[in-house]
Amino acid sequence: MSWVNVCNESTLPQGTGVAAWVAGKAVAIFDLGQHGLYAIDNVDPATGVSLLARGLVCDMEGVLCVASPLYKQHYSLETGICIEDEALVASPYEIKKEAGQVLILAKS
């Protein structure tokens, strides 16, 4: 397990998601400013399609989520757990900004 430098922090869009390649896996990154920086699997566990970064960010009773663009399940950005079905999880990644760079902890 190691930190992977994915991009310059200025290239992250604010308030919406974007995808990144981390050790061969697609990861969805959400930079929500004062509300935090998150990374989860880009693959929608309900369908197997890689597109969660394209979802809308939602505040579901205080839990920040992304709504899958396909069938609108909501995944917590913090835990990756699906609000509608706890068995579905888009695994979260550790993510941080350091010296102007965005780093994600790769899962080997």
């Binding site: 994915v6 991009c7 290239t11 992250l12 869009p13 308030g15 919406t16 974007v18 995808a19 990144a20 390649w21 981390v22 061969g24 697609a26 990154i29 929500l32 509300h35 693959v43 566990p45 309900a46 369908t47 197997g48 399609v49 890689s50 597109l51 970064a53 394209r54 979802g55 809308l56 960010v57 939602c58 505040d59 579901m60 009773e61 205080g62 920040l64 709504a67 663009p69 396909l70 069938y71 609108k72 399940q73 909501h74 699906c82 509608e84 079905d85 068995a87 579905l88 965005v102």
Partner: protein, 884 residues
């Protein structure tokens, strides 16, 4: 044993059922049959109904509606088919001329005699025509039946001036009808005031001045002495004070008299001034003969309203059923409250109980000359009990006052407070309060119906019949239902999601009046406060796209605008200006207005599809859909299409999709108008218009309707004189034929009406509500929409026109704008680090029928998690709405 049972059964089946005859098929006579049949009594009786009029029962209470719609259809309460389905024999246009109660027979005017076992007289009443010389002159008519209305219509077509004789309830209704027919209208009343039966003098005077303001001349204290030839008009009416009035037509509406001639000639007991005497069971003096409605006299009173008539009908049904089954009848007629609330010529008028006061009464009087409101409460000598009330100009207190009057509960505090409590609230109503007086439905009935699972007005109506009589109580029924729903823990669902308590219409209104142009402001100012106090402004996938649509309708700015963060609000398809497909790729649909495309256009689309290996298919909206485009290829694909002269088709938006057309008069042997040309013009006018849901049009060039316009939100069908406009049709999962909105329009008027219909839809519809459902949810439905659009009844037509012109003038092809500003294109770079893409990572496809199809993730092995359908109900809806 088996044999004997069989025998007795067959005996029973062949035995003759007792014969029940009803004379009269007005509102009360029909209600009687309806009640009988809802209880299944048509199986116990052989039922025959005789009616004098040429059609079955219709709504006489709302007679003047006939002139608004020009047709009797809207008034019908039933049909011959209903009677046939019930197994009830209905004889229309058949007068009964003789009744022999000793031998239990009756004879029609054609001399046909038949027998009865039980007889119900529901003969109603006839209009009283004052005995004035000349009252039988030409164009002197009465106001009671649909035939009378046709006579009035015919007379009005030759008249400039019309007089209504009688300033009571019916007279003012008739005046309304004359106004609607465009005749200069006068009302002549014998008493010194209008509505002398219900109103006191001050209330009558206020009503008079209000009606005068509406352009009806009211003449009180006038007794007509004769009608003779006029000088400036057909008739001259001379009055007892030596004045006169000239007019081209006269409508007598000076009260009603019980239609009791048949009963009188057969020797039934009658009142001194007419009316068939009945007891508490509605039985007359003859055995097994009942009388109900306006022909019946109970304790020396005639009840000239429909609600007491319905009560009598129910009492008679109960007694007949009880007698047949040899048990005691459970209900009796105990009199009826004659309180009434109406809108006469648009003026609110209500009378409760002893509305004209009585000796020694205490009273509270409110006379608001500025707002044109008069209210008076009559209290008993102690001042503690409400005995009567009269309201003019504002009926909003009616239900609360009626409840207070009927319950006879002691008034808490000062009686004046009854007038000061502001908007009425259903909370204050008791369980026993009658909400619908036509069908005697109490608050408890409605609440229980909600508890049984009826959660919509339509369900409540069909189950309890509340609001299905005169309809005056529908707002109150809705209020009671909503409160019961809340009590049941069912959300009334006015808010669009957990972040807003507002529905889409309120949000639209807020954004418009407060000029709100971004989501942060909207949710900060108007969002629900979260219980934790921790507030973010992210909203959710329900409210954000709704807000984006509202902003787009109001300002029509570029939808992927970064500055006001509109891009963060857009739903799946809008966000990338394409329709997301199941494998994460997009479909691309250029606009092909009216379905007309050049060979070069076809070749250009073909070349693009071939270059990017896109699956192509012709859509139902007469254009070409190309599937399987990768997110990152969308800009270059569109670049090529725009270079070839195409523009975006908005297939991804909640907006105008297509205007389908048939080939029309340019080629077709039968076409009468240029349907393709009009379709192209309409599509170009409304393209890019953002709306609560997608909108589809079609234009047919003749009545053969090859473009299937009646299944579209907006349907246009050519006639030899112009265009017929249909609105609110739908295909899809809930098909609905469009309603004919207007006929034979020229193109300019057609466009004007469509502008207004669409803008009014955008302004008032709920989120993701198609026009068909919207139309059905509008109180007043098609007629209401016609009045708003054609007659500008809300005074907003100019605003709607201006808004549509502004949207049309600010149209932009979103793809063209995006391509011109490269900063907008960054979002089509799916990965921030595309270079780190692992080798061999591609979408997997198979080829079928020479085209490319996606392999599902499990068959391609791309995903290691099985597809699991966990869509919640709400999601299902959202997803279903999103499919093209």
């Amino acid at each position: 044993m088996a044999d004997s049972t069989g025998t007795s059964n067959s005996t029973k089946l062949t035995s003759v059922k007792p014969k029940l005859v009803v004379i009269g098929n007005g509102m009360v006579g029909h209600h009687f049959i309806e009640q009988l049949c809802t209880q299944g009594l048509q199986n116990q009786f052989d039922i025959e109904v005789f009616g004098e009029e040429p059609r079955p029962a219709y709504d006489r209470v709302q007679l003047s509606k006939y002139f608004e719609t020009g047709s009797a259809d809207e008034l019908m309460l039933t049909s011959a088919q209903d009677y046939q389905d019930w197994g009830v024999k209905l004889h229309l246009e058949t007068r009964i001329t003789a009744l022999d109660t000793a031998n239990k027979t009756l004879t029609t005017e054609d001399g046909v005699t038949s027998t009865y076992d039980s007889l119900v007289l529901a003969t109603g009443s006839y209009p009283f025509v004052p005995p004035i010389n000349g009252n039988d002159r030409e164009r002197c008519v009465v106001y009671r039946t649909i035939e009378d209305l046709q006579d009035i219509e015919a007379a009005a077509s030759q008249s400039k001036v019309g007089v209504v004789v009688g300033g009571g309830l019916l007279g003012l209704e008739a005046a309304n009808a004359l106004m609607a027919l465009g005749v200069t209208t006068h009302v002549v009343e014998f008493a010194p005031q209008l509505m002398p039966v219900q109103l006191n003098d001050k209330a009558g005077d206020l009503l008079k001045s209000k009606i005068n303001e509406l352009g009806v001349s009211v003449h009180t204290s006038k007794a007509t002495t004769a009608i003779v030839d006029g000088e400036s008009a057909m008739h001259r009416m001379t009055f007892n004070d030596d004045t006169f009035l000239e007019t081209d037509m006269i409508v007598f509406s000076a009260g009603i008299r019980p239609q009791d001639a048949l009963a009188r000639s057969s020797g039934l007991a009658m009142g001194e001034r007419g009316g068939i005497t009945i007891d508490d069971n509605c039985l007359t003096s003859a055995p097994d003969v009942y009388a109900i409605g306006e022909c019946a006299l109970w304790q020396n009173r005639i009840f000239g309203l429909v609600a007491p008539g319905y009560q009598m009908a129910r009492v008679a049904v109960s007694h007949i059923a009880a007698s047949a089954n040899e048990v005691d009848s459970t209900t009796t007629f105990t009199g009826a409250d004659m309180s009434t609330k109406l809108k006469l010529l648009g003026v609110d008028v209500a009378a409760i109980g002893e509305s004209r006061g009585f000796e020694n009464a205490q009273f509270v009087e409110l006379s608001d000359n500025q707002s044109g409101i008069y209210k008076k409460l009559w209290l008993d000598e102690t001042g503690k009990y409400l005995k009567g009330a009269v309201l003019v100009g504002d009926n909003s207190d009616y239900n609360r006052l009626l409840d207070c009057y009927l319950s006879q509960d002691e008034i808490e505090g000062n009686a004046v407070e009854l007038l000061m409590t502001g908007d009425e609230s259903a909370v204050e109503l008791k369980d026993t309060s009658i909400i619908c007086s036509c069908h005697q439905v109490t608050k408890a009935d409605i609440v229980n119906s909600v508890k049984e699972g009826n959660h919509t007005i339509a369900e409540i109506k069909s189950c309890t019949r509340a609001a299905s009589g005169c309809g005056g109580c529908s707002a109150l029924v809705k209020q009671v239902m909503d409160q019961a729903l809340i009590a049941e823990g069912v959300e009334c669902n006015t808010g669009i999601c957990e972040h807003f308590e507002h529905d889409r219409q309120s949000l639209y209104h807020l954004c418009q009046v407060e000029n709100i142009t971004d989501f942060d402001t909207l949710i900060t100012k108007h969002g629900k406060k979260s219980p934790t106090g921790q507030q973010t402004t992210f909203g959710c996938d329900l409210c954000k796209p709704a807000a984006a649509s509202i902003f787009a309708s109001l300002q029509n700015k570029y939808v992927l605008n970064q500055e006001s963060s509109h891009v963060q609000l857009q739903d799946t398809n809008d966000a990338y200006l394409g329709n997301l497909q199941k494998d994460g790729t997009y479909s691309v649909v250029p606009r092909v207005a009216g379905g007309e495309i050049t060979p070069d256009g076809l070749i250009a689309i073909g070349a693009v599809a071939k270059e990017f290996d896109l699956y192509t298919k012709i859509t139902g909206g007469q254009r070409i859909d190309m599937f399987g485009a990768k997110l990152s290829d969308l800009p270059i694909i569109w670049h090529k299409l725009i270079d070839a002269g195409f523009e975006t088709g908005h297939a991804y938006g909640k907006s105008l999709r297509t205007v389908k057309s048939c080939v029309g008069s340019t080629w077709c042997r039968y076409g009468v108008q240029d349907s393709v040309g009009t379709a192209i013009d309409l599509e170009n006018r409304y393209k890019g218009l953002r709306s609560p849901h997608k909108i589809k049009f079609a234009v047919s060039g003749c009545t053969r309707e090859c473009a299937e316009a009646q299944s579209k939100d907006i349907g246009v069908i050519a006639t030899d004189k112009g265009w017929n406009l249909y609105v609110a049709g739908n295909g899809g999962m809930r098909p609905r034929h469009g309603d004919l909105f207007a006929t034979d329009l020229d193109t300019e008027t057609l466009v004007k009406y469509i502008d207004r219909v669409l803008m009014f839809y955008i302004k008032t519809a709920d989120k993701l509500q198609r026009t068909s459902v919207w139309m059905e949810s509008l109180e007043g439905g098609l007629e209401y929409l016609q009045s708003v659009v054609i007659e500008d009844s809300l005074g907003i037509a100019a605003e709607l026109d201006a808004q549509m012109n502004s949207v049309s003038d600010t149209y932009q092809c979103e793809w063209k704008t995006s391509l011109e500003k490269p900063e907008f294109l960054s979002r089509f770079n799916e990965f921030v680090n595309p270079d780190a893409k692992p080798d061999g990572e591609t979408h997997l496809y198979e080829r079928v029928r020479d085209q490319r199809f996606p392999l599902s993730p499990e068959s391609s092995g791309a995903g290691n998690i099985a597809i699991k359908d966990i869509t919640t109900e709400q999601n299902e809806q959202a997803v279903a709405e999103e499919l093209v």
